[in-house]
Symmetry: C2
């Protein structure tokens, strides 16, 4: 039977001859971009035919593809039919996973000093008079030439060494982590590292050269655990059944896919990745490690593990070097995890003398207040509304999502991502909309709709027509419903209440906060003015706010590239005082007060 292989994913599937590559991709679950519905007009689904027989180039393709593309073997997947065994390379920009998902972070850097180091060795060949084992020859060389003693060789490296030495005239590049040889290769092989921000909704991965500190490539994808619940609690519920292993495997698979893409993009081998750092909130951390989560999900919310973890990649099924370690930064407590430690590391909040709030807004929102030399941290369940979930016309921040709203009298202006025809509203758009609706007195302080030409009755209460069907990309009206507004009010109230309690714990009034650092993908897109107008933040001067993007990813990269930063992360986690919200005597009162919109 004929088959198709999709590179860089490396997945093989049986085919029926004559089927289009786009259809084969869909059947195989490979998410190719397309905005024309496979009509051959958008050229988003470009793929390169590596080998095999396909249908001849069509006129449409000759028009859409550049001459250079055609010469390099590029075709449109929607117009190209496969016969026999076909191998195609999917252009990075044609994969859904490389859509607009933020991977850049704030710019803090550290002195390059990774935990893994490469050493060159050059041995005399053994003879019948010198029959010592390869192991002993390597260990003696390291002692003699580098003064390295008590070295242990991990089994995968030990399996590599005999053949490498004999194929390379008794020279090799060996990679040490502490006193352990974790891999062996050629002297000139690059030494790679991987940093991963394992978010509830999305996963960002960075491939770095550990000898130069350079980030070679970055990529992100949706966390496919979303299929098992889009908020933390429903996912933990799922894992408490017999499905913990399914969720663990899903996270490993997602990271492996990102690794394959990063390596294909840079033409490097995955098994040269000698170290990985993974950060995530405690739930993601536990699910990734296959740790039980029942005790984490139920009061008193106890993590199985809080200290930093070092584990072999092979023990959790990551397809990097089998001898590589995966390092997870420490968790703080309850729902404040390694990802927040990474944010503190990246933003430097932990050693400021100023009064600073660091906040990472997501499905779960983590907050740290640095004041008077103390670090107070907490978390609150802000729900997936800011990710576009649980909102009638909500969507993720991708092309066609309304991201900006302005209402003046009866006029409604919107802006969409990439200026595409609007098809839904993303988190920053809905936050904006609520602020604007309130500012224009279209809704009252409880979110109830009052009077406006765009208001109409809906299934549950009323709704505001933001974009009518004739102006939308889908032909359907895009509306904001009263339940949508309630979702946003619940989310912002959770955050506002948590902020207020942290300040009260530190005995600080709002206006003494000198800086508010907003981290996370959502946080970097929101309009801070709107966030203030709906009462998420107190109305401080705008210059006190900064939006730093994926600081968790940046923190992970720092810990990957620097042993000192990694040690610092543990020191930070130890220093933090955790404030539990769920049973805080003031939380419910603060929350119910914060749920109304400001007067």
């Amino acid at each position: 039977m004929s088959s198709i292989v999709f590179e860089p994913l490396g997945r093989r599937f049986p085919i029926t001859d004559g089927t289009t590559i786009a259809e084969l991709a869909r059947n195989a679950g490979v998410s190719l971009l397309s905005s024309c519905g496979s009509q051959g007009t958008c050229r988003k689904c470009r793929v390169r035919i590596v080998s095999g027989t396909v249908s001849p180039l069509t006129t449409e393709e000759s028009e859409k593809l550049s001459e250079e593309d055609i010469n390099r073997g590029y075709r449109l997947a929607c117009l190209t039919r496969a016969y026999d065994d076909v191998k195609v390379q999917i252009a990075a920009e044609s994969l859904i996973s490389s859509q607009r998902l933020q991977v850049a972070g704030s710019g803090k850097t550290a002195v390059l000093n990774p935990l893994v180091q490469k050493y060159s060795i050059s041995l005399p060949p053994p003879t019948m008079l010198d029959q010592k084992s390869d192991q002993r020859a390597v260990l003696e060389y390291l002692d003699r030439e580098y003064g390295l003693k008590d070295i242990y060789i991990d089994l995968p490296a030990q399996r590599q060494l005999p053949d490498i030495l004999r194929a390379s005239e008794w020279q090799a590049g060996i990679v040490l982590r502490g006193r352990e040889i974790i891999m062996a290769g050629q002297i000139g092989d690059r030494l790679l590292g991987l940093a991963v921000d394992l978010g509830t909704t999305k996963i960002a991965a960075y491939l770095a050269d550990l000898q130069t500190g350079e980030v070679l490539a970055a990529n992100a994808s949706v966390n496919r655990q979303m299929a098992y619940g889009d908020d933390l609690m429903s996912r933990l519920d799922y894992a408490m059944g017999k499905e913990a292993e399914t969720l663990r495997q899903s996270a490993a698979d997602d990271i492996n896919r990102l690794v394959a893409e990063l390596c294909a993009e840079t033409d490097l081998a995955c098994d040269r990745i000698a170290e990985a750092v993974v950060v995530g909130n405690p739930a993601m951390h536990h699910l990734f490690l296959g740790l039980p989560v029942r005790q984490l999900a139920l009061a008193p919310y106890i993590p199985a593990v809080s200290n930093a973890v070092d584990i072999k990649a092979r023990d959790i099924g990551l397809t990097i070097a089998p001898g590589a370690y995966v390092h997870l930064l420490p968790n703080i407590a309850g729902f404040v995890g390694a990802d927040h430690v990474a944010v503190l590391l990246a933003t430097g909040i932990h050693d400021t003398e100023k009064t600073v709030i660091g906040i990472d807004i997501g499905t779960n929102t983590e907050i740290t207040l640095a004041a008077h030399g103390r670090l107070l941290s907490t978390s609150c369940a802000s729900g997936p509304a800011f990710e576009g979930a649980h909102i009638k016309d909500g969507m993720r921040a991708e092309g066609g999502a309304v991201e900006k709203v302005k209402i003046t009298g009866s006029s409604v202006e919107i802006r969409t991502i990439n200026n595409k025809p609007p098809v839904g509203i993303c988190g920053s758009g809905i936050l904006d909309a609520v602020a604007q609706l309130r500012k224009a007195s279209v809704i009252d302080r409880t979110g109830k709709m009052l009077a406006h030409p765009q208001i109409r009755a809906a299934k549950n209460g009323q709704e505001f027509v933001l974009v009518s069907g004739e102006n939308s990309g889908s032909g359907n009206d895009i509306t904001i419903t009263e339940p949508d507004i309630s979702e946003i009010l619940l989310a912002k109230a959770a955050i506002a209440a948590a902020l207020n309690i942290l300040l009260e714990e530190a005995k600080l009034p709002w206006d003494e906060v000198e800086e508010i650092i907003i981290a996370g993908a959502f946080g970097s897109y929101i309009d801070v003015v709107s966030a203030i107008e709906i009462g998420m933040f107190s109305p401080l001067p705008m210059e006190r706010f900064s939006q730093v993007g994926n600081a968790a990813g940046t923190g992970a990269k720092l810990a990957l590239l620097s042993k000192e930063q990694r040690d610092l992360a543990s020191a930070i986690a130890d220093k933090v005082n955790y404030v539990e919200m769920t049973n805080h005597p003031q939380y419910l009162r603060k929350f119910s007060r914060a749920i109304r919109l400001p007067a």
Copy 2:
């Protein structure tokens, strides 16, 4: 579809209703004993029906089985037909693997001090005011109560802890190995260890209680790698192709089967085995670890690894506790491996002041000469003839094998194992036969047959009829051929030449050897007089010889039960001077001289 499960192997197979359990076992590769050809007369194939529907008890069974057996559900597998889903328990004595394969060894013991130790912990339950992780609670307890600092918890133990603590009122028994917690369980759980002698032909395994030092059960089976070559070199050849992983898996599977049987026999759980020690020759050692063997098989015969190895059971697929370590004793060089180190450990040859030879005769024979404070070791390829292979009517040492031969004039007396009707000749029998044939002048010094009523022409040269068909268990004549004698002469010459060279290296005449310790299953059954008569050993006084059985297994047990013995093993391996035979200037000359029988 109906199925059958064979306990303690735990293997499930689909069945056709109405098939006998004996036939199902054969189809499934489960080796049930039978000496009557499944006629219902030998009662060897006793199995206990645990559940499911089987044919009614037959008259034959009522006669053969005791009333107690019948009441306990025992049946004869050859007469019992299975219907629906049947589970049967195979009696230990009915499995081929529990036949006469020696597992006992010499009696050296050590002070009990295993590397793994169990600690009881008892924690206060966490509360909303004390939300520290389970990990931190355990580590703080160990520090406070036992003064244990810098402890690391391996992931499998970390996965177990939360549920164990919550199910056992916050008490647990945790197992430390050095500074690592490798497993967690109930306080009362037994702490088990496994010692394995991974031989070229057979595998012996011992289950021990690490808290008492008691060996709870012992078992042995054929090494199923035999299917890929019965001598080391053909197996290494096989592994140099792409089949190394097949051989590795075969060894792991064999050990796992033995573990399952040992645990079923003692009603203990495999995942309570917290430590294993494995010894084998360098080829077995490398195949077991999945190390490349090309450089070991070809001159200058370099092992990948010579030092002792500690590796996680999960990394090589052993189904003991996933956090358990498997320890392999050090290899000495070339083909003198961890199994011979274990022999030295068990026999104490390493620190004797006497002049002692230790010899482990097998497919490969390892020899150490202790003299003047030095240890000289070597190995030689003695071939599988002593295991009954490459001998026309050869067989392994099981019931019905001729193990003793006496020829006086025209009379030939034999003795078989368990006094069963003779069906073949095992190693000690053929060695005896050659000695007796020579003594009775039936053969000349080159092994050529002269004159005797039992001699007749055969396919290649002549053969000596040891047992005629009417007296044999199979109905066939059992004969010794001239090629059989050649095989034995080649094997004994290899051993004699190696012994002579070692003595020459130490500048010692034979009669200064004060003790010859013969280890190994074969070595413990041979008649030393016969071995001297064929010229394998020099004619020293009989009191200087001792036969100690499976000393390699005993050494493995010592290393399992005592950290000090394990350290000693490494010291022994370092102390040994290896003498390579393959390129020794004297070897071929000594070998060709030793090939003739003594005058």
